[in-house]
Amino acid sequence: MGILVDEQTRVVVQGITGREGRFHTQACMAYGANVVAGVTPGRGGQKVEETVPVFDSVEQAVAETGANVSLIFVPAPSAMDAVVEAAEAGIPLVVCISEGVPVLDTIRVAEYLKTSSTRLIGPNCPGLINPGASCKVGIMPGNIHLPGRTGVFSRSGTLTYEAVSQLTNLGLGQSGCVGIGGDPVIGTNFVDVLRLFDDDPDTDQVVLIGEIGGSMEQEAAEYIKAEFTKPVCALVVGATAPTGKRMGHAGAMITGESATVEAKVKALRDAGAVIIPTPADIGVTAQSLMAATL
């Protein structure tokens, strides 16, 4: 089990012939993911990694290979075109790694996806991994992961790796790790991921990693309080970040009271989450939470 990707996952990589697309196709395959196709318009008929056929369109790739997850490395100006192409081809899960997508493009596509059964993760995200199924659909370093029963999710890339590595060092494996992306508007939010982990019999507890900006942590807190059935520990970073300055993630902007670390921590604590005191305590906090529930 685990969430979103598993042994049944058949990946098509959009933008597979670019430098990043090629590199990460190889890394995902080395980890054990089943990459069945690539798409680069105009490059149909080529092969990548000697075995992966390249198609001109997602529609062809799906028809020929039965691909059911798309991983997108297309440059930002065309990234949302790639998302819609995948959705129109009937792919149920689209993971968009591309960074620097104009927000109004994402907004229009998010609107379009409301009438579609396709789920979008990202853009501007590291993707997701299911260590138990040896399935990696993203750019995270695979070797830091360990199969297990803790779910990890975050708006950040390398901070997710930090969290995972702290867990793995303590022997605490992961049922799944999802980087949802750092942009102000993204396809899948914390509440969506919480629902998936709640329904996953292989997940015992979750680690939520939030940051300043927006109010997604508060929405998660409301959901945790109302419906979520498993233990949660949570870290919110950015307490020392200056107000009103752009911090690399367009999303991490202090826009109001609810965007502060204090407000987010309070909401999560009130919802019953165990607060991780500093970024160095992710592993130990998750470990004692796991021990307490056993």
Partner: protein, 383 residues
Amino acid sequence: MKIHEYQAKELFARYGIPVPSGQAAADPDQAAHAASQLGGRAVIKAQVHAGGRGRAGGIQVVNSPQEAQAYATQLFSRNLVTAQTGPNGAPVYQVLVEEPAAIAREIYLAITIDRVHRRPVILASASGGVDIEETAASNPEAIATEVIDPVLGLMPFQIRRLIATLELDSALARSAAQVMTSMYRLFVEADCSLVEINPLVVTSEGNLLALDAKVNLEDDALFRHSDLKDLADPSQENELENRASDMDVAYVKLDGNVGCLVNGAGLAMATMDIIAARGTTAANFLDVGGGASVEKVADAVKIILDDNDVDRVLVNIFGGILRCDIAAEGIVKAYKEQGSRLPMVVRMLGTNVDQGKSTLRDSGLPVTLVDTLTEAADAVAQI
């Protein structure tokens, strides 16, 4: 990307949003000339990328070209320090010289992105002006909002609902509707993250006028707006921040003394938080990004070394796309080329970490290698 008020008003004029007559001036003589063209009486407004200008003495009414010249001379002579600029203030290279308006009422209008609804949102309030944020905090009902469907656009019934809260007579209501429609067109066509008019005034002659204008353009969309890209004003940003932005490194200058080099924005914030918890503070936020080369890492390290506030350096790299050996080579290159001996704590994990560490160990630089975040924060505090 922020732009100046005078540039935002030029965009407004292009979209049919009424603005006072006036022009930008780059020196006191131009300011005097602009004032005389307006008949002598004028408002002089310092052009800086920060709010709070009025309270900081950056806006003044003058009664003659001579007064305009004298006041402009004063504005050009020093940085303007407002509540939003930080203690060093922002340099003034342009002033806007405008016809004064007789103000009967002040309205507030803005369009931005609503992250919760994942849609644009328009805000309107009958009580605009400098206290709008206090109004929003103390009396949220005084701010009307409409979330906009990006496919349908701003609908007439939404405009009618907003107008109903603004207490305008029917002629002014029609003008206000026109202003809202134009603002939304500008927001979408120029890929803005903010279009704000505060205040939109009702003049005593009974007209609407955008007395101030704030337009923020979305950085990620500038690739398709080559004309708007030129509106950038690097003089308004920190010099080190400009250097970083030229090389596509996310960098923000901060107040502390620990120069931080990190890959990833979230990890960079976490690094700043953990060193603060152990008693030191960051001199900067720096995310060197995923696919950095040796040169890019070296250039990023040089920005840190060129910051006079920095007396120690903390490197926290989680190698993934960015390999640790590449990062290490970049760090050594920058130190050697700058001849720097600043003490450095390095924490590296992930891809090619052993090569990275041995490159640093063999470099002869004053480097302390550590394995965890806590060790890194403690080592930095002990320097």
